[in-house]
């Protein structure tokens, strides 16, 4: 009784659209199927070929939608290939190994429900035969009908139950896997050196944690069972058909090659157009975003017409591609329906003749076959997308493994030295550093900072002042290590000790005393209170430092939590005291919820200057021995700027301070000025000595006045 367009008997909930997102691609289009780098040659009205190429080339991660089930701008572009498919596949299998029992259950249940689905048309046919006989004879064999109906009911119940438990379990597995993966990646991220974050865009990392992991879990949840049920159905249905009639089976098999043709010829063709459509859509979005963001500039320079012209061109290209894509992909449905109907008619015709000749028991068998035509050819349609899904999943998994494989920051050394009462003496001893080996920024830098001194760092913007921060806080390690050379071989110094032939010698005053002879320690490093920072636990080192940078970092949460970030156990009194010292208390109290005011993500509810005051309060509360300050106060209004300056001066009292200085007072008053340019320290000394040297610093200093012409007279008035 079943045929063309109706759902098969064992109505399969998997076929039901799960997500009613109207943004979803039209049916027949699976974005995962898009082959990569296959530009379709499409011609515009004038017959010129239109090349699929996106002007707004996607930078990895930059424009990917960060949402589940998003439109086809998917993880790592559709159909992306894994670099090492086999290796990554093996690893993925190992990774999901801990869920092996649950996955086995899913597989077994999937097999069972597929088998149940294979039997149901057969039993239906048998019931139909009973009914057919009843119609002809006028008497119903109630027992037989009841028997078949009960069997059929049992099959339905079993199939529903199996597929229900199977889906329930699959969801549980995939969600837990996602959680584990996210957690693993996050744990890894917290161990990676800063270098990794400086070299990879945030968008790229985010995309791996969200989109790629989602991709893997979706495959696990849906595609895996799809593969199993396809295979089982294919084999099972074939066997079932053969038991009924080999002639009809041959008829069904005759249709199959046409299905394959449709799936493997038309579908890829339409996918090419979908690639073009996607690229054009990306261009539309890019152009709209850019033009609307730059609206003011477009108008100021009177370029509205050009902008519209370009938009129309892209919009037309989108139209041309999408009409072709829709049309060709839309052909798949009618054609396969046509094939289905043909198979159906052939089964009816030939089956009918067989029944007439007595070669087939009854019309029930024909009925069963009409359903098997469908069931048999459906998996074939699915195989084409499975291969692509698998490819893109493994590519996603590979990108996740890439993070998990990154080299971690070296762990703290086992015999690390903790400084209990830090003083804040900082020494650079023959420091050599470069972000890469072939671009050394510091060749042999030595400075000696006593507790409480102020070091000003000056230089043009982008001179690499953050490098110093990176080194002091050990976000990056200096190049080379300390060694002691004894009898021509060198031994590494670690934790203030050196191990030579099994004996541990202590380093004292930069040398090791072995058998009455003193061997000097070679190589450079940074020390705090005499201890090489590589010999300290990172947490101990970093707790001595306080940072107030121009790029203020606040997280979503209350002002109180943000201030207490460095000391979560701080009391309210301490928080208020720190805010007072930071001159932030007043403005905090003017906010609607005072200290409980939530800072939103962009922290747009408080001004840039106020944000800076909050980070100063944070530093006050943490009470560090050494400070790293960025004085720049651009885009801060005058009143707040005065507050920030006062607060910073207050904070610097009795602390060793490294100040990225913009103010004349700080620069002049500094105990040492480091002049940086192009990422390296070009000069160092006091204000007077540097002026006397008449070098880069003197030049820089003068430039502040040439244009301004501050007269002595002016200065006196202030």
């Amino acid at each position: 009784m079943n045929g063309n367009n109706t759902p098969p008997k064992g109505f399969d909930p998997k076929n039901m659209p799960k997500n009613l997102d109207p943004k979803k691609a039209p049916k027949g289009f699976d974005p995962k199927n898009i082959p990569q780098g296959a530009p379709a040659v499409l011609r515009d009205k004038k017959g010129n070929p239109i090349v699929v190429q996106s002007k707004y080339a996607q930078k990895p991660g930059a424009r990917r939608p960060m949402r589940r089930g998003g439109p086809p701008g998917r993880p790592g572009m559709p159909g992306e290939k894994a670099k090492d498919f086999k290796g990554s596949l093996k690893r993925s299998i190992v990774y999901i190994g801990k869920f092996k029992w649950a996955l086995l259950l899913v597989a077994v249940l999937c097999v069972l429900s597929s088998i149940a689905n294979i039997f149901s048309p057969r039993v239906q046919g048998l019931a139909i035969n009973v009914i057919d006989r009843a119609f002809r004879t006028g008497t119903l064999d109630t027992a037989a009908l009841l028997r078949w109906i009960l069997v059929l009911g049992a099959i339905y119940v079993a199939s529903s139950l199996f597929s229900f438990i199977q889906q329930w379990t699959a969801i549980g597995v995939s969600q837990r896997l996602v959680r584990t993966m996210r957690s693993d990646v996050d744990a890894k991220l917290s161990k990676l050196p800063l270098k990794y974050f400086d070299q990879n865009t945030h968008g790229e990392i985010l995309s791996r944690v969200t989109n790629d992991i989602d991709n893997v879990s979706n495959t696990l949840q849906q595609s895996m069972t799809q593969i199993i049920s396809s295979v089982i159905t294919l084999v099972g249905v074939l066997a079932m058909m053969l038991t009924i009639s080999w002639i009809l089976t041959l008829v069904v098999l005759c249709i199959t090659p046409f299905y394959i043709l449709v799936v493997y010829v038309i579908a890829p063709k339409s996918q090419r157009y979908f690639v073009g459509q996607q690229a054009a859509l990306g261009d539309i979005n890019g152009h709209v975003e850019e033009m609307f963001t730059g609206h003011k500039i477009v108008q100021a320079y009177g370029r509205e017409d050009e902008s519209i012209e370009e938009f129309d061109e892209i919009n037309d290209r989108y139209y041309t591609y999408s009409v072709s894509a829709q049309f060709i992909s839309g052909m798949i449905m009618p054609i396969s329906r046509m094939l289905g109907n043909t198979g159906y008619v052939l089964v009816c015709v030939i089956g009918g003749m067989l029944v007439s000749n007595g070669m087939l028991p009854g019309i029930g068998e024909i009925q069963s076959f009409t359903q098997y035509v469908r069931q048999f050819n459906q998996p074939i349609q699915q195989t084409s997308s499975i291969a692509n899904t698998l490819q893109s999943t493994i590519a996603s998994a590979e990108r996740i493994f890439e993070i998990l494989d990154q080299v971690e920051e070296p762990a703290d050394i086992p015999n690390a030295i903790t400084i209990e009462r830090p003083q804040g003496a900082v020494k650079f001893e023959h420091v050599r550093f470069g972000y890469t080996e072939d671009n050394v920024l510091m060749e042999d830098m030595s400075i000696d900072v006593h507790p409480g001194e102020t070091i000003a760092i000056v230089g043009p913007t982008g001179a690499g002042k953050t490098t110093l921060v990176n080194l002091l806080m050990r976000f990056y390690d200096v190049n080379g290590s300390r060694t002691v050379t004894v009898d021509g071989s060198s031994y590494p110094v670690s934790g203030g000790e050196v191990k030579i032939n099994g004996t541990v010698y202590k380093v004292k005053d930069g040398a090791v005393n072995i058998a009455g002879r003193s061997y000097p320690v070679e190589g450079g490093g940074i020390t705090v209170d005499g201890v090489d920072i590589r010999d300290m636990p990172r947490s101990n080192l970093r707790s001595m430092f306080g940072m107030v940078l121009q790029d203020t970092w606040l997280f979503r949460g209350s002002i109180r939590d943000n201030i207490a970030y460095g000391r979560p156990d701080a009391t309210d009194e301490q928080i208020v005291a720190a805010s007072r010292a930071a001159r932030a208390d007043h403005f905090i109290r003017t906010l609607p919820d005072g200290y409980n005011t939530e800072i939103n993500e962009e922290a747009s509810n408080i001004s840039q200057g106020q944000r800076q005051l909050l980070t100063i309060a944070r530093a006050f509360l943490a009470d560090p021995e050494i400070l790293i300050l960025d004085e720049a106060t651009s885009s801060v209004d005058t009143r707040t700027e005065v507050l920030i300056q006062t607060a910073m001066n207050e904070l610097m009292k009795n602390r060793t301070s490294f100040v990225i200085a913009h103010r004349l007072s700080t620069i002049r008053g500094a105990d040492l000025i480091l002049v940086m340019n192009h990422g390296t320290i070009v000069e160092q000394g006091t204000h007077e000595s540097l002026l006397a040297a008449n070098g880069f610093y003197a030049d820089l200093w003068q430039s502040q006045f040439t244009a301004a012409h501050i007269s002595e007279e002016d200065q006196e008035r202030m």
Binding site: K23, L145, V288, G302, V323, Y565, S703
Partner: protein, 584 residues
């Protein structure tokens, strides 16, 4: 909805054709099960005079040919419908998108502020996409659903009137289950989405604050924050998805239960001679068709509200008219004056705002003069200069350029005289030379180079591997902030405008570059008017005239030395930037 109908007008023929073809396709489709039951009844089940089933091969082949023909017709009409539907819905989407884009392009800053840039972007891209999708989906649904439903019911009832009650029970039951399912799971999926946003936010914060987190030794705390969000999201997703899975056996129960009922009761009717096996098969097929339609319809109805929201959002954009337009009778300024800017008792307030942003501002800037504007944040500096290119219109008084009220000039005529450099350098995807040429499309290579030289951009541009042909990525992420600003300045310089407007454009530059740039600018701008908004005193000190703004009022005007004598606000600003100790 009126909007949609209006925009559909050019496509009415195509839409009509689509409807006709879809109608035909659905009708042919409905005919198929009936033909199939004929094959069974009249062909296979043909009896001889003695009442034995002998089958009638001729009939089978004849009806089979009909069926093939019908299914061919179904496919052909489907092809056609598919093509015209694609043409009309995509064409409609293209037109609508173009209209929205054109409209927004004509907006003044006032309308842009009103909607917000990101909202305008979403409306032009996502919302139009939604409506387009609904149209292509809706066209099909509008025809298929009622036809399948009504046609299916009619056919089912005629085939087996005694079983019609099964349809009557299963139909509402299924609708109820589907709607219930959507009602229960949709809010859960919404919650899931916000939890996902939270997780992403935590991760984003973590990435941007990596240095601070490590500096404060808070790695473990952040790990926990992420794990909490992660756990929370997983629990919610599990709940939502499990809920949905729970509903599915119910759907299956209805479909399969109905099928079983048909067999059981059909058996009895068959024994009474009321229904043949062929009719029963056809009936089941119609029943499934009806139930599928019901399911689709229930889903469709939950989609409509969402599309309506999009339609309204697009409608709002299209109905908004730009507040600033070209005058009916534009006046061109005389050729003799070049770059004179006059503010005559100008007051400006944002629409609906109580307080004026600018109040009674009067001053004149003459060609060859450099006029600087200083004041604290919110004093109205940027607003003031935004009035010159007519980004906004004054509320009272007038702004004149070369003696003509800016409202009496053609916008392009006015803006063509101005080189505007915004606070935040906005560059476009493309090469550096394309970006500089944005100011003057027909500029020669020499002019572009010269503009870059004055803007202090030549050195770094030439240091780039491809020089002026180097491509800027979107948002120009591959050059630094200061470099972006210098390109943006070169873009204005290449025009050699009568009026330069620097809206705090120097703050991204260091002192040295700032000074060098202004030095190089001097000979070029000798004949032009230069207006500079600045925060730094050192930037404005050398100006011919300094305007001091405080809360929208002009509180001082004059040279640096004069203002140091007369203007308290100016002294305060200078004092805050050059502390007393600096003098010592």
């Amino acid at each position: 909805m009126r909007l949609i109908l209006h925009k559909l007008k050019p496509y009415r023929l195509l839409v009509f054709l689509t409807l006709v073809l879809l109608f035909a396709s659905a009708m042919f489709e409905l005919y198929l099960p009936s033909l199939m039951s004929d094959i069974v009844n009249k062909g296979i089940g043909a009896t001889n005079a003695a009442g034995e089933v002998v089958g009638d091969t001729g009939t089978i082949i004849r009806i089979g040919a009909y069926m093939l023909l019908t299914s061919l017709l179904v496919s052909l009409t489907d092809f056609g419908a598919n093509y015209v539907a694609a043409r009309s819905s995509m064409g409609f989407g293209r037109d609508l998108r173009g209209d929205v884009f054109r409209k927004v392009s004509s907006y003044s800053l006032h309308e842009v502020d009103k909607f917000g840039t990101s909202s305008l972007i979403t409306r032009t891209t996502n919302d139009v996409g939604q409506v387009q999708m609904m149209l292509s989906f809706g066209l099909r649904m509008m025809v298929n659903m009622p036809l399948n439903l009504i046609g299916g019911i009619i056919m089912a009832v005629t085939k087996a009137p005694s079983l019609a009650w099964i349809v009557a029970i299963a139909m509402p039951l299924l609708a109820l289950v589907v709607v219930l399912n959507i009602k229960v799971t949709t809010p859960l999926f919404k919650v899931m989405q916000t939890k996902l946003d939270t997780l992403n936010r935590v991760l984003r914060e973590k990435l941007s604050g990596m240095r601070v987190i490590r500096a404060f030794n808070n790695v473990d705390r952040e790990r926990k924050r992420f794990d909490d969000a992660n756990y929370d999201l997983t629990e919610t997703s599990l709940k939502a998805m499990h809920r949905m899975t729970l509903m599915q056996p119910l759907n299956m129960l209805i479909f399969n239960g109905a099928a079983l009922a048909v067999l059981w009761f059909g058996g009895w009717r068959a024994a009474e001679g009321n229904i043949s096996a062929g009719d029963l098969m056809a009936f089941t097929q119609y029943l499934m068709q009806i139930l599928m339609s019901v399911m689709m319809a229930s889903m469709m109805f939950t989609m409509i509200p969402r599309a309506m929201v999009s339609i309204n959002r697009i409608g709002a954009v299209l109905e908004e008219n730009p507040s600033i337009d070209d005058p009916a009778k534009p006046i061109s300024p005389s050729e003799k004056i070049h770059g004179k800017v006059t503010f005559d008792h100008v007051t400006f307030r944002y629409p609906g705002a109580e307080n004026a942003v600018l109040e009674d501002i009067t001053f004149t800037a003459d060609p060859g003069e450099t006029v600087a504007i200083i004041g604290s944040t919110g004093s109205g500096k940027s607003t003031l200069i935004n009035l010159i290119p007519r980004f906004y219109d004054v509320a009272e008084g007038s702004v004149k350029v070369d003696g003509v009220d800016v409202r009496d000039m053609r916008k392009n005529d006015l803006r063509g005289r101005i080189g505007y450099i915004p606070q935040k350098a906005l560059l476009f995807t493309g090469s550096i030379s394309e970006n500089i040429r944005y100011g003057k499309p027909d500029a020669t290579d020499e002019e572009v180079r010269d503009a870059a030289r004055i803007a202090q951009a030549l050195d770094f541009i030439e240091a780039m591997p491809e020089g002026f042909d180097s491509m800027l990525a979107q948002d120009a992420t591959n050059v630094s902030g200061g470099q972006k600003q210098r390109i943006s300045i070169a873009r204005a310089l290449v025009r050699r405008p009568e009026i330069y407007i620097f809206d705090d454009s120097f703050s991204a530059l260091d002192f040295k570059t700032d000074a060098a740039l202004r030095e190089a600018l001097r000979p070029v701008s000798r004949e032009s008017t230069v207006l500079i908004v600045a925060q730094r005193v050192s930037t404005v000190m050398s100006a011919d005239r300094i305007l001091v703004l405080d809360e929208g009022k002009l509180v001082g005007i004059g040279k640096h030395s004069e203002l140091m004598e007369s203007c308290q606000v100016y002294r305060e600003i200078v004092a805050s930037q050059l502390k007393e100790e600096d003098i010592a």
